[in-house]
């Protein structure tokens, strides 16, 4: 039975009508395209009157299909689907074709733009004939949430949700929550004590009745989809009974093995083989580092075990896999510092008094290895001059093209701390000073007043090769001062490299487990850079903090809270709609060749051994259609984007290209009848 199609071409004021002859196209479609029952143009299709027009036609003219030629489906597909739905037509029998963004707005020549719009309308008319009614699917949302990463962003998200009365599983890879912020001395520009503002949040999370803290644990596997994820967490062996330990710390005190602490102290201090990373750690349950513990090395010692008052030390403890079920996931895995050895001309690792910014944070920190005294590597000499090098690994094509965002402010903070604590001269070598948040520029002005010196230029090398007596025994920073246009050499005692913020090493891997993608650099991709910054392309998976891109503490906190709000909204709603755009396999015809199974990054295609055929797990399918295009037997169908629909669309789009053959085509030609 032939369809009855309604075609509606929008003027969009003069947005479309200014470049496309919409009246003519509407008339043409009504007269020339098969099965078009109604064809109209209207000033604003998306207005309530425009929508009403469609609804009325569906009812009165008994339309079975609707084509709207207007703006991008990303703007108004939902609007017109709703209109169809209101009139009792399945919303998936409508097609919105884009003659504004893709046509009237970008083409100069009116007649060419009209021709293109005509082709697009023709394509939509052909396509819509083959569209099929579809029903959206709904799933219940599990009110529990998984937060990955216990830095400030993850903590904020956790507390927001827990305070709202929802359960949160907070997973942290290290023995304590707190993240990088716990390592800092002060925060810019307020110069708040970092620990003082962070630790209350940490202990709140540690004690909250709605929070299950899983520290020293990592995400192993995620399956399921929005509303009902099944997650496997690997709880790494602490060698300490979590419940029995009281956190008294006697084991740490008595442990005879000291090792360099490359994590919390950034290599500036030591810790024991059994340790809590820092005094305010949450939870207060230590961890045995099995790589350095004497017992694991040569089956001797066991001092901790002997002295533990609650017998909490368990050398034979093994990793444990914990299964949890959650409705949503918030990823807040943060960043890692750039390896400054990758820029050898700056001498890090070769020249003793070249520091990374994380090292310097620990050096300044009152709880750090020098109790906050700024001294050189010899542990006693106070530097008389310090150079701070910006953009080490940032804004550099050979390493990371992006700006790490926070280093300028951190450099100013360092400058202030040095000037406060020592008499040293401080030089900042910057490309551009970037201080564009609340009170940041004011902080810069303050440092200018305090006597910090600023040299605009990219440092070409840090060397100990002296050219003149004043340089002997110093580190010389060679830099073109681009404000005076001269190569300058600055002999200093200490150099701090403001290394870039980089994505975690395993960001891509973790993203793959959760079904989200990364930018080229490895930052997680948000759903929309402006309008949807914490959601991702995978429903039910959100991102917060620096794992999405470099940012400062206030922005991380804001994102943590935003992600939590999004999750709370989903939980309150109780159900989520899933678009019915999914693939399905005709199992009868499937030969089980196994081309498709590996094709799906969501593992949505299972192979059934008994029947030796494949099947799509609808709840996991995201509807990309890659398997549809891959199936060599043509037995996979992609709903709303099936071959028939797309072939018809192509045919419609090329309605004017079907060249009459040199001779008329075989159907129409008059071929001499056979002799009789």
């Amino acid at each position: 039975m032939a369809e009855k199609i309604g075609v509606y071409v929008c003027h969009c004021g003069s947005n479309i009508a200014g470049k496309v002859d919409v009246e003519e196209i509407a008339q043409w479609a009504g007269e020339n395209l098969d099965d078009v029952a109604v064809s109209r143009d209207y000033k604003f299709m998306c207005s309530s009157l425009g929508q009403q027009m469609i609804e009325d036609d569906i009812k009165k003219e008994k339309l079975t299909r609707v084509v709207v030629g207007a703006c991008s489906p990303h703007l108004h597909e939902k609007t017109f689907r709703r209109a169809c739905s209101n009139a009792g037509m399945n919303p998936y029998l409508m097609d919105l074709t884009n003659i504004r963004e893709h046509c009237s707005w970008v083409h100069k020549d009116r007649s060419l733009a009209t021709e293109k719009a005509r082709a697009l309308i023709s394509a939509a008319v052909q396509r819509v004939k083959h569209q099929e009614p579809l029903e959206p699917m709904y799933v219940d949302v599990n009110p529990a949430t998984l937060v990955i990463g216990g830095g400030i962003a993850g903590l904020q998200a956790t507390l927001e949700l827990a305070d709202a009365g929802y359960h949160v599983y907070l997973v942290e890879r290290l023995p304590s929550i707190g993240g990088h912020m716990a390592q800092f001395d002060k925060t810019f520009p307020t110069l708040d004590c970092s620990a003082c503002i962070l630790t209350p949040k940490m202990s709140e999370a540690g004690q909250h009745e709605n929070v299950t803290l899983l520290t020293y644990a990592e995400l192993e596997e995620v399956s399921g989809s929005v509303g009902s994820f099944k997650v496997k967490i690997r709880q790494k062996s602490r060698c300490v009974d979590y419940d029995a330990c009281t956190g008294c710390g006697i084991c740490v005190e008595k442990c005879p093995r000291k090792v360099l602490d490359t994590e919390f102290e950034a290599g500036m201090g030591n810790r024991k083989a059994i340790y809590m990373p820092f005094p305010q750690a949450v939870p207060r349950v230590p961890v045995i580092d099995q790589d350095s513990c004497i017992w694991f090395e040569r089956q001797k010692c066991r001092a901790c075990e002997k002295l533990c008052p609650t017998d909490a030390i368990k050398f034979d403890q093994e990793d444990e896999l914990i299964d949890i079920e959650v409705g949503n996931i918030i990823i807040a895995t943060g960043w890692k510092p750039f390896d400054s050895k990758k820029i050898p001309q700056y001498g890090y690792g070769r020249l003793a008094n070249v520091y990374t910014s994380m090292e310097f944070e620990r050096l300044c920190n009152a709880a750090g290895p020098t109790n906050g005294k700024i001294v050189m590597r010899d542990g006693k000499t106070v530097p008389k001059s310090i150079a701070i090098v910006h953009c080490v690994g940032s804004r550099d094509d050979r390493h990371n093209p992006y700006c790490s965002g926070i280093c300028c402010m951190a450099a100013l903070k360092f400058g202030h701390l040095v000037l406060e604590k020592t008499d040293a001269e401080v030089y900042s070598f910057y490309i551009d000073m970037r201080t564009n948040q609340k009170n940041y520029e004011e902080f810069y002005q303050r440092l200018l007043g305090e006597g910090m010196r600023f040299v605009r230029g990219k440092v070409s090398e840090v060397t100990d090769a002296a050219r003149m007596p004043t340089e002997q025994g110093k580190l010389i920073v060679q830099c073109e001062d681009t404000l005076i246009g001269r190569q300058q050499r600055y002999p200093v005692d200490m150099v701090i490299l403001m290394g870039a913020l980089e994505p975690q090493e395993d960001a891509r891997e973790l993203g793959l487990k959760c079904g989200i993608s990364c930018s080229m650099e490895g930052w997680y991709t948000e759903r929309h850079p402006k309008l949807d910054p914490v959601a991702t392309m995978t429903d039910g998976v959100f991102v917060a903090g620096t794992c999405q891109g470099p940012k400062d503490i206030p922005a991380s906190v804001a994102q943590g809270a935003a992600a939590a709000a999004r999750v709370a909204g989903m939980i309150t709603k109780g159900k989520v709609m899933i678009e019915p755009i999914v693939a399905s396999i005709n199992e009868q015809a499937c030969s089980g060749c196994k081309i498709c199974n590996n094709m799906c990054p969501y593992n949505a295609i299972e192979f059934i051994e008994e029947t030796e055929t494949s099947r799509v797990i609808t709840a996991l399918c995201k509807g990309c259609g890659t398997c549809v295009a891959a199936c060599p037997a043509g037995v996979i169908t992609g709903a709303h984007f099936n071959n028939k629909q797309i072939f018809a669309e192509i045919e419609g789009a090329l309605w004017d290209a079907l060249q009459p053959a040199a001779e008329s085509s075989s159907q129409a030609e008059t071929v001499p009848a056979s002799a009789s």
Binding site: S591, G634, F647
Partner: protein
């Protein structure tokens, strides 16, 4: 035309039906395969009178021409349409038959003769008639002429087309029976269907809706291909899926019907049974599936894997189906502006 079953004469006292078997651009293998139904041929003979089959029986074109339209019940037409004479016969038999069946790969999708569509008449003749090719002895460079003047008048030879067409690109076709050649048991099954009167919808392919893999006993695990191998480069084991061993086996894209004969004797499927139900373009399907599992994310490496492993993409993906594909042929100079 196909609404009613062909009149069958299966001993129920009804009049015998009329059967025609014709060959156009094909090799004759289809006829051999018909004979392969063995003693069942007697049942066929009981049911039908064979009015034409140039391969095995005498039958005159003029006798067919004299028939009433639709007088033949079933015509099995094998071969593609390469010459004007073949087109004439296709039209004639269409007119005279109730049920015209595209029989075998050539008629359905062009098959090997269809590969000639990568060239034009001139090139094909050059290759066939010049003495430079090793198999040709033609010192006077004699070429076939469409028209020859003799004292009695003009004699005509059929003209040779630039492009081979499938049967359904030439005339309306009722059913399709794929295969190069169709396997004898499948032929008998098809005849049984025709005799039963329980006919499928017009345009159907009489065969299965699944692919060769369904019948292949090899075990399939994981498809990821770093290197395509040519058959002479490896001796495959007889347990694992040939494609997973790097050999380009077309079984996954090819309609079932043969019983996976080739893969069972360690030889990759070459795709003679054509595309599965509903597939528009065999080669596109096959190449898409194959490309999808190339184990590389580097464009240069991908290009190298393909050009090294698949030096002849048309021969690999369109060995049997070029003429019947969406593209139909290789590039041909645009037609000269016609005189009108």
């Amino acid at each position: 035309m196909s609404e009613s079953a062909p009149t069958s004469g299966n001993g129920n006292g009804k009049a015998k039906g009329k059967l025609a078997i014709y060959w156009a651009a094909s090799c004759g293998g289809c006829e051999i395969s018909i004979l392969g139904i063995d003693t069942k041929i007697l049942d066929v003979a009981a049911a039908f009178d064979l009015v034409m089959c140039p391969c095995i029986a005498d039958g005159k074109v003029r006798d067919i021409e004299k028939m009433a339209d639709g007088e033949i019940d079933v015509c099995l037409f094998n071969g593609g349409i390469r010459t004007s004479e073949q087109e004439y016969m296709a039209r004639l038999l269409r007119q005279k038959s109730k049920c015209l069946i595209a029989f075998g790969s050539c008629a359905t999708e062009g098959c090997i003769p269809g590969l000639g569509n990568l060239h034009n008449r001139q090139e094909i003749f050059d290759n066939s008639y010049t003495s430079e090719t090793h198999s040709t002895e033609n010192p006077d460079n004699v070429r076939p002429q469409a028209v020859t003047e003799v004292p009695e008048g003009k004699l005509h030879l059929p003209i040779f087309y630039d492009t081979l067409k499938t049967l359904d690109q030439t005339v309306d076709v009722d059913y399709y029976l794929p295969g190069c050649p169709p396997e004898s048991p499948r032929i008998w099954e098809a005849i049984e269907v025709l005799l039963s009167g329980n006919l499928p919808a017009k345009g159907a392919t009489i065969g299965e809706n699944t692919t060769v893999c369904d019948y292949c006993p090899r075990t399939r695990k994981n498809k990821k291909i770093k290197e395509f191998k040519r058959t002479w480069e490896v001796i495959p084991d007889d347990e694992t899926c040939l494609l997973e061993q790097g050999l380009i086996c077309a079984g996954l894209a090819t309609r079932a019907g043969c019983g996976a004969l080739c893969p069972q004797v360690n030889s990759p499927c070459i795709g003679c049974y054509g595309p599965n139900e509903g597939v528009e373009d065999y080669g596109a399907r096959f190449l898409s599936a194959l490309a999808s599992v190339i184990d590389s994310e580097d464009p240069d490496e991908i290009d190298e894997i393909i050009s090294k492993g698949i030096p002849d993409p048309i021969g690999t993906f369109y060995r049997f189906s070029l003429a019947g594909s969406l593209m139909r042929r290789g590039k041909r100079p645009a037609p000269a502006a016609t005189s009108q």
